[in-house]
């Protein structure tokens, strides 16, 4: 059992990909062995989907290699695909077939018996009743649920999900957030998933990798990636004035207005007490001052150098 846990489920070494003159990926290294939920974050165009497509064997790398359970994806795609389940960002189905029949087609490609576990999967993703409806009549959220069921078909040890909660209603999102840890810790699966929702990644991921410009620029837990210095959040009467005063102060790295009376300040050089004194001396009524750790969102924007508008 120990050997099984330590066996490398996904190994990506020195992965590079060029599209003409554009270098989409540069030296991507990933090694996942232990069951868990791993986040893959990056701004649009950073190379997340390209990485996933190379892992899935849909694109060939310009350099480097990918192995799944020790099987090279590009030398033995057929065998490697036994060990992976994938949900793509825009899952596609046969619209003239029902959800159940689409899963049946996927199961037949995998050489599985007709109806093998399909009912349970549909139930797991909340499509038990809608399973007999034609996929052409499904909403976007239902299609994503079906995509998740398709990724789980055959119980693969590695599951890749490209923005699994995109387009889901709050109940669907909550269901996925519950499902991912269950798959990872109860069933021992390795789950690699990308998302634009930092709160979601923070909530369900053990570790995360941040990709920018085709390179992984950081990886680790939120604690490992966050800085030692706290983030200061202040609630005051006049945020415009407070912002003017603080912007002229050295040591303030970033300042965001997070509400009508709130400022969030990234300041490696100043602590909360110093900011409080500064504002009180300037005559700004400060109602509350809080110190907190850097959030994943702060980490992401700091590391990728992107603003929220870029997302």
């Amino acid at each position: 059992m120990a050997d099984a846990i330590e066996k490398e489920i996904l190994g990506v070494a020195g992965l590079g990909k060029r599209f003409g003159r554009v270098e989409a990926l540069r030296g991507i290294d990933i090694s996942l062995s232990r069951p868990g939920v791993y986040g893959f974050l990056g701004p649009n165009g950073a190379g997340k989907t390209t990485t996933f497509k190379i892992i899935a064997g849909l694109l060939r790398p310009t350099s480097g290699s990918v192995s799944i359970c020790g099987i090279d994806v590009h030398e033995n795609t057929r065998e490697a695909m036994r060990n992976i389940g994938i949900l793509f960002d825009a899952p596609a189905y046969y619209p003239y077939l029902s959800g159940r029949d689409n899963l049946e087609v996927f199961a037949r490609w995998s050489g599985r018996k007709a109806g093998d576990g399909i009912g349970e999967l549909l139930e797991k993703v909340g499509l038990a009743k809608a399973g007999t409806k034609k996929v052409g009549e499904y909403s976007w959220g239902m299609k994503r649920r079906l995509g998740i069921a398709a990724a789980l078909l055959g119980d693969p040890p590695l599951i890749i999900m490209d923005e699994p909660t995109n387009g889901l209603d709050p109940a669907g999102i909550a269901e996925i957030r519950r499902l991912l840890p269950e798959l990872a810790y109860r069933l021992g699966r390795v789950i690699l998933f990308s998302s634009h929702r930092m709160d979601e990644v923070d909530q369900v991921c053990d570790r995360m990798m941040i990709i920018k410009g085709g390179e992984i620029i950081a990886s680790g837990t939120t604690d490992e990636l966050s800085r030692a210095e706290p983030v200061v959040e202040i609630v005051c009467s006049d945020t415009d004035r407070a912002a003017r005063i603080l912007s002229g102060t050295s040591g303030i790295e970033k300042m965001d207005r997070t509400g009508p009376d709130r400022l969030r300040i990234l300041t490696p050089g100043m602590r909360a007490a110093a900011i409080n004194s500064l504002l009180i001396e300037a005559g700004v009524e400060v109602r509350q001052v809080m110190e907190s750790k850097e959030s994943l969102e702060d980490i992401f924007f700091r590391l990728t150098g992107t603003g929220q508008d870029d997302q």
């Binding site: 064997g57 057929r78 825009a90 596609a92 189905y93 046969y94 003239y96 996927f106 490609w109 995998s110």
Partner: protein, 269 residues
Amino acid sequence: MINDLKKVLSAELFKARGRKSTYIVPAITVAGSIIIFFAVSYAVRRDWIGLASGFYISSVSMGWIVNIMAFLAVITTCFEISGEFAMGTVKPAWTRPVSRRSWYFGKLLACSAAITVLFLLSFIAVAALAGMKFGFNDLMEKEYLVHSSAGMWGRLLAVALLTIWSLWATVAATSVFAVFFNRPGSAMATVMAVSFALTLLAMFPVARPVLLTTCLTQPFEQMTSMSKGLPLPLEWGTLIWRTAACAGVWIVVTLFAGSTALVKKEITF
């Protein structure tokens, strides 16, 4: 490979069950074949063409129907291959434990099977009607037996088999274009343009024997001549080996080209 082909064929069969076109296309094909049969019969009765014999009317009708079959082979192949790219369903297909070559060969087998069924339905419909209305009799010139009924039946069946073989070659040749294009419409338009160019090439006698269009049309043209008692354009042996070899070469070359292109294809969408 055999196991993978079984998986792909099983999935294709399952998908076909759920498609309306699986039931509509054969019905339209049979109806179209019957219309062509009656049009040819009418022309014969009015003495515009040929003679009132089951063999002659079957041959002329099937000669027309072969063109429709070739068109159906192009449409079916383009939708089966390019259609998967257009819908995006190639992504879940290629991330299953089935090799791309098996997926490709499985698709072509399914297309070939479908077109064979359509051809046989047309052939049976036309032959049955021709038999009922005109009979499959010996071809006599006064007291002299030109061709016996049994001999013509043998040739008619051989011609049908050669045409089926050539339709498989059409499926294989179309698949090369279908692999390159991510939209069935683009693939079909290109196949049509290439077919047109090949038809122009048919003006040159040197090129004619190696063209796929010749493989498709020549067998029933030969049968038409035979059933009318005219001199044959080719010896039967020559026609059979030439058509079989020509279509065979088309199949081998295009399967190699198509499968190689498919294995190298990258899914960027």
